[in-house]
């Protein structure tokens, strides 16, 4: 490799403004990058690193052999997609040169720069990326523990509980029955997710069990894409959905799995034929054990590089992070992933980190051929992250569109949602 060395030295002699990233990355950016977690953040990081930084040695550690996405889980719940459609394997990432290790991580030793696996193996790294996802806060709603979640499924963490459990209960529900949903306060994974779920359950009830009702009890007073969802519920599902916010006694403090009953802050008890409890959440255990989370249960990060604000040499991505106003979404995790990998490659090559721009496009299916979206472009701001002024926002409301344009807009966004899903999952697992 004498030629490489010579070229690298020449490149190093270039004026600063003419840095040669393509060359530098091939020569000087070598290093071992270990990624913990094979979801949207981790899988995107592995793929992006393989495609753009061949000098990086990439190890992806993920305990499961397959990954079921949260996005489109609500369509599986409604019977509009099959669970296999949203489940992916890691074979193609491995074929692209990612070392995929299906093991649980039991400890991260940041001082020694190594990760210990359940089988006792130690995996050394130069830089660590953690995209650990979330844990549910069992017991934060009194009575809601793992046992209760079998009776009252959360359907919120596919690796803990497949959405098919809630689907089976919904299918077994009698016509004229009541579907109760319990929704947490912010922050939580996928801010529009519970409301897409309300929509998709209503879509199923309207088709299969039209005398049934859905009651959503929410621990907050407002939610993502709220005007769009509520317009659509009135239009598509009149008489089926009742949503109650916190100021209308929507906060559930206790559940009784045996009685299939939930109790609100002010003591009202409600029974459901199916009860879906989405409990409060926090960063996954491995991140908390590694010292990445603060007292909030989530992980503070440095906006310019997404490095942990608490532990050096570890980049933290996705739902586990404190990154508001960026939502805890798959697309944001993927956007985090690319930036973190580019920062790592730059750092290993002795260069300054690239400038940061993060993206989120998040579609929700509200009915058949009826999609809505929220978009955001973000940069590091004076305190954390900031949305680029004038950009982003939600789809136009019904009143802002002619009837003809409205139909077209909703149809297109439902179609584009499918395109988004194909693109992003292909990027990770294709």
């Amino acid at each position: 490799m004498t030629l490489s060395r010579r070229v690298f030295l020449s490149a190093a002699a270039l004026p600063a403004g003419l840095a040669a990233p393509n060359l530098a990355r091939a020569q000087a950016g070598a290093g071992r990058v270990v990624i913990i977690g094979g979801g949207f953040g981790g899988a995107s990081a592995a793929r992006f690193a393989r495609d753009n930084f061949p000098a990086l040695n990439i190890t992806l550690i993920e305990r499961s052999r397959s990954f079921t996405t949260c996005p489109y889980g609500n369509l599986v719940l409604a019977g509009r997609r099959d669970i296999n459609f949203i489940t992916f394997g890691y074979e193609k990432l491995a074929a692209r040169g990612v070392r995929v290790v299906h093991q649980s991580v039991v400890a991260v030793d940041a001082a020694a720069k190594q990760v210990r696996l359940a089988d006792g193996a130690q995996v050394p790294y130069d830089r660590l990326i953690m995209s650990p996802g979330i844990d549910l806060r069992w017991g934060s709603i009194e009575g809601y523990d793992e046992a209760a979640s079998e009776r009252m499924p959360h359907g919120w963490v596919p690796s803990l509980q497949p959405i098919s459990l809630l689907r089976r209960q919904l299918e077994a529900m009698p016509d004229g029955g009541r579907f109760v949903m319990v929704i947490p306060d912010n922050p939580f994974r996928c801010p529009p997710g519970p409301y897409e779920r309300i929509s998709m359950v209503a879509d199923y009830l309207k088709r299969a069990k039209p005398r049934s009702k859905l009651i959503a009890l929410d621990a907050k007073n407002g939610f993502s894409k709220q005007p769009l969802f509520q317009d659509a519920w009135a239009e598509l599902y009149p008489g089926i959905i009742e949503w109650r916010g916190a100021s209308n006694d929507g906060r559930v403090t206790r559940v009784n799995g045996a009685a299939m009953e939930v109790e609100t802050e002010f003591g009202e008890k409600l029974k459901g034929d199916v009860v879906n409890v989405i409990p409060p959440q926090m960063a996954a255990k491995i991140a908390r054990d590694a010292g990445l989370a603060n007292q909030s249960g989530w992980c503070p990060i440095k906006p310019a590089t997404l490095e942990s604000a608490q532990v050096e040499g570890i980049h933290v991505l996705g739902d586990a992070t404190i990154a508001a106003p960026m939502p805890k979404s798959g697309y944001v995790a993927s956007s985090h992933a690319k930036h973190a990998v580019a920062c790592i490659a730059a750092s290993l090559a002795g260069r300054a980190p690239p400038s940061a721009t993060f993206f989120n496009t998040c579609y929700s299916h509200v009915g058949a051929d009826y999609g809505i979206s929220i978009v955001g472009v973000f940069r590091p701001g004076p305190n954390g992250f900031a949305e680029v002024e004038g950009s982003g926002g939600i789809s136009p409301r019904n009143a802002a569109l002619t009837a003809e344009r409205r139909k077209e807009h909703r149809q297109l966004e439902a179609l584009y949602a499918d395109g988004w899903y194909d693109s992003i999952t292909d990027e990770m697992f294709g």
Binding site: L3, S4, V7, S10, A11, L14, G17, L18, A19, A20, P21, N22, L23, R25, A26, F48, D51, N52, Y331, S334, S335, K338, H339, A342, A345, A346, P354, S355, T357, F359, T361, S373, V375, G376, V377, V388, G390, S391, G392, G393, S395, R405, H409, L412, E413, L415, Y416, D418, G419, W420, D422, S423, I424, D426, E427, G430
Partner: protein, 97 residues
Amino acid sequence: MKLKFALCLLLLSGGPVFAQATDTPLLIGGCQGCHGASGQGGHGIPSIKANHSRDEFIALMRAFSANERPATVMGRISRGYTPEQIALLAAHYARPQ
């Protein structure tokens, strides 16, 4: 010898786009999420791969950001980019000139 040739090109190329070459793979992340890895589109999402000249691409993004062209998400997205970033995207996606 390929690398050496690339280095010569780099020296001759005048800089700005190359200087930010690391930025391009990051920036296109905002496009790839819907338009696909190479910009090929699908599910009704238009292809943006080699469909326009650089000038046309830039004009299109300006029209989106000014709400002068009907769009679902592109108006909201395009306003998040700086003119320099739009130029990098145009250089990446436009037809070779």
